[in-house]
């Protein structure tokens, strides 16, 4: 633990401000510039599975933000005492602990939501967003910036979840958060948007739009940087 305090000390003396300078850069990076879903293509599984209702997307986004931020914080705190060879197991163990906390909370207080989300809460463990940030950021950086990075990526992820949720619920059921927006009198629900293909189509089109607005600078080589995951 002595190692981690010595590396954290210079950051503190420089005065790390969470919402100015470097802190803001980290937040912006995670939320927009390098958004985990659209830019890094991480965590697609959950992102497609739970977005058929806005409420589900909100809850899932909040759960994922919590897990990413907390696991980043703890992994970064312990990063100098985790042996390199078994770092995957160590990271997974930390992440799984927070996921179990969330899952037990849902089961205790929001049983119907827990039932609807099914196995996907547990699948946050293998979500590449959480693992990816732990590996790429928290293992190299001090705790406070890692916490912020986790928050930013979680929020960036949640925003995309909610966007997709809004489109799918609106087109598929004519409602948002259960309130009727498009009355059934003249709007025929397009059920396919609530089912699996709708998730793929909405996701594909959203990535298309965002990629047009904010293009990725270089063409990725086949199986280059992405295949390392």
């Amino acid at each position: 633990m002595a190692g981690s305090t010595t590396t954290a000390a210079p950051t503190r003396s420089r005065g790390f401000q969470p919402f100015g300078g470097k802190g803001r850069a980290i937040l912006l990076e995670g939320i927009y510039k390098a958004n985990p879903v659209t830019k890094q293509v991480l965590g697609i599984c959950i992102f497609l599975a739970v977005t058929n209702r806005v409420a589900n997307s909100l809850v899932m986004g909040a759960a994922l933000t919590f897990v990413t931020a907390m696991s980043n914080l703890f992994i970064s705190t312990l990063r100098n005492s985790i042996p390199r060879r078994i770092r995957m197991i160590a990271q997974v163990a930390i992440i799984a602990t927070f996921v179990i906390i969330i899952d037990q909370l849902f089961r205790g207080f929001y049983w119907s939501m827990s039932k609807q989300l099914g196995p996907y809460v547990a699948l946050i463990i293998t979500s590449c967003v959480v693992m990816g940030r732990a590996e790429a950021y928290a293992m190299q950086n001090p705790p406070l910036p890692s916490l912020l990075d986790g928050l930013a990526n979680g929020i960036g992820y949640a925003i995309i979840l909610v966007l997709i949720g809004v489109v799918r619920e609106l087109v598929g059921a004519g409602t948002i958060l259960g309130y009727t927006i498009l009355p059934p009198a003249w709007y025929v629900n397009n059920l396919i948007f609530l089912l699996a293909p709708g998730a793929f189509f909405t996701g594909g089109f959203l990535i298309w739009i965002l990629e047009t607005l904010n293009p990725t600078s270089q063409e990725p080589p086949a199986g280059g940087t992405e295949a390392k995951r």
Partner: protein, 196 residues
């Protein structure tokens, strides 16, 4: 108790409830590793193999150790530990006994630990209350279903090399749209079987 016959569980997990097109599991490696058929077949067979054995091991641990002890809330961490340990053993075993297979599959094995389809299969096995026979066929069927999905997509992507895709769609957008079309065709199987 779930009373679905095993053949229905098996076919259902391949076609009607395909783990990728209906439950969206294993999307990350699906998007990244589906650019060549040979890669897809390597990864697909590795996933099928690991999924088959880990669902069985996880079933036995869950049913005979965790439930009697009232520890089912730690099942996630146990499941992922079993998967990681299994993959690690498999990697050492393959490296020792068949270097050729190791070079073919080696790079995929670490990816499998964090493949959500593997963990997802174990979780669905618990949620749907399968008994031992159903679990065996579910593990095999879900693995084969994932194999089928990634092989299909790799075939399409090899063909797509000749077509002119809009620049902004090239990275992942087009794969998602194609997956949507394939998912629609898989929905056609829904009427065939109504499994859970």
């Amino acid at each position: 108790m779930n009373l679905t016959p095993v053949w229905a569980v098996f076919l259902g997990s391949i076609f009607t409830n395909n783990i990728l097109f209906a439950s969206f599991l294993g999307m990350c490696s699906f998007l990244v590793c589906s650019n060549r058929i040979s890669t897809a077949i390597g990864l697909g067979s590795a996933v099928t193999f690991v999924m088959f054995f880990t669902t069985i091991i996880n079933f036995l641990i869950y049913r005979y150790i965790l439930v009697p002890l009232g520890l089912d809330f730690v099942s996630f961490i146990i499941f992922i530990a079993v998967i990681a340990a299994f993959v690690q053993f498999l990697e050492m075993f393959v490296e020792r006994f068949s270097p050729e297979l190791y070079y073919a599959l080696g790079i995929f094995l670490p990816l499998i630990t964090v493949n959500c389809a593997i963990l997802g299969a174990s979780l669905f096995m618990v949620i749907r209350n399968y008994d031992f026979g159903q679990t065996v066929f579910y593990g095999l069927g879900a693995g084969l279903g994932w194999f089928l999905a990634i092989a299909l997509m790799a075939g399409l992507r090899e063909r797509m090399g000749y077509s002119n895709v809009p620049v902004a769609l090239r990275r992942t957008g087009i794969i998602m749209l194609m997956a949507g079309v394939i998912a629609m065709t898989f929905m056609g199987f829904t009427g065939m079987l109504s499994t859970q």
